[in-house]
């Protein structure tokens, strides 16, 4: 194309369009047509509101109940979770774990979760570092208990809010899921979770966390940890079903959630949660 100048446009028949003009207009039309509908959806508040209203009257909303009065720290839940959800046994992370709290009479605080209690709690010694343990005399103990933990499937999940690409989300039935094909592995969700529920899967290299064994729920089965627990410390239920035993406990008995001050509205409820639980 030769160098341009005002004079090259002065000779044209009226009513015709210059090549430049034509190309420019085509480009604008093409660009406009190519904006995907998804982009337009972002701009439509009415549509978004309608979707939110639908969610409020949905039939299924999973909730979890943990009874810390029943947990003995056997760790069968952790083992079952790892095997059910293909998180390698030797990986130093787990979708669910159990914490041990030992509070001594002098006001001392001791807590640990060796390998997430994958192998249970076999020794009374508290793990305080790699290869380091602390002895506590039984007569010094004021109270000791075990607290199972898992993803709280929050109603206002901070992890979903910070995902830059929409790889994690809250499904209509309340479970927060991670799309392994879409996650870019930035780790923002892991940093945003106040509960330490998330980690990077060592093989898939995407964010990973408990999803209430979503594949088992789909088949009418309970999560692996619920089934494995011999003592009934873990239960799952549907909050919107008035006959559901878990829903009944949550609505009628005194329950607590973890770190409510963060405003995340967790959907895992605890019986017997002590003030020292982190």
């Amino acid at each position: 194309m030769s160098s341009t100048g005002p004079e090259s446009f002065s000779r044209r028949e009226p009513g015709s369009i210059s090549r430049r003009d034509f190309l420019k207009k085509t480009a604008i039309v093409a660009a406009g047509a190519l904006i995907p509908l998804a982009a337009l959806e972002i701009l439509s508040p009415a549509r978004a509101q309608a979707l939110v209203d639908d969610a409020a009257t949905g039939p299924l909303h999973w909730v979890f109940l943990v009874d810390t009065y029943k947990c003995v720290g056997c760790g069968f839940c952790v083992k079952a979770c790892k095997l059910e959800n293909e998180v390698p046994y030797e990986t130093e992370a787990t979708r669910t774990w159990v914490e041990r709290y030992v509070l001594t009479k002098d006001g001392g605080f001791h807590a640990d979760s060796p390998e997430g209690a994958r192998d249970g709690f076999i020794t009374p010694k508290i793990k305080i570092g790699p290869g380091e343990y602390q002895d506590i005399k039984p007569e010094d103990i004021a109270k000791a208990y075990f607290v199972p933990k898992l993803c709280n499937q929050c109603n206002l999940p901070p992890c979903v809010q910070v995902c830059p690409v929409g790889a994690t989300y809250k499904a209509p039935d309340g479970v927060v899921l991670v799309d392994r094909t879409w996650c870019i592995g930035c780790g923002y969700c892991i940093m945003a979770c106040p509960y330490g529920a998330r980690f990077f899967h060592p093989k898939y290299r995407t964010a990973e966390k408990c999803n209430f064994c979503y594949h088992r729920l789909a088949k009418g089965l309970s999560p692996a940890c619920v089934q494995a627990c011999p003592f009934g410390a873990r239960q799952i239920g549907n909050l919107n079903d008035p006959n559901d035993p878990v829903a009944k406990v949550i609505t009628t008995e005194r329950i607590a959630v973890l770190k409510s001050e963060y405003g995340t509205k967790p959907q895992v409820f605890y019986l017997g949660l002590d003030q020292e639980v982190r």
């Binding site: 660009a31 190519l34 959806e41 009065y69 095997l83 103990i141 899921l177 999803n211 979503y214 011999p230």
Partner: protein, 161 residues
Amino acid sequence: MKNRVLNNHLLRPLLVVIGVIIIVLVVRQLYVPGDFGIHVPGYTYGWYREGNIEDWKQVTVKYQGREYCANCHTTEVDLISTSPHAIIQCENCHGPGVGHPPDPPKLVIDKSRELCLRCHSELQYPSNPRSAIKGIDPVAHNPNVECVTCHNPHKPTIPGA
């Protein structure tokens, strides 16, 4: 007049930028799956690829539960069901039963002390349900001997003990 404005070299960089944006939008049409968008409950918590929900539902279930084991192993199931170990799932000790049989033909039989010590290592915690479980000091009680040498896991109580 309009042509002169367009001809103005000042707009050249702008045209380049517009060109790049168009390319990005074209690539986006091809790259992003069709079911990706705003779903319940809205843009903040519902921005995702809808097909992923079905992906998760399709994952293979590994643990089958005692009822499945009872189809064949009626002896052991009957035995354990009347013992204090009735509350323990078969697969807790034997591993998940997916594919069995025929693959694997036999499930793991874990005879290690560590397995039993999960519950039976005495921790001496006051007002803890663990205290209700018969526990031992692993250092003192027959160390280096497999628990199953004396205790049948499906009927662990030794008569007279």
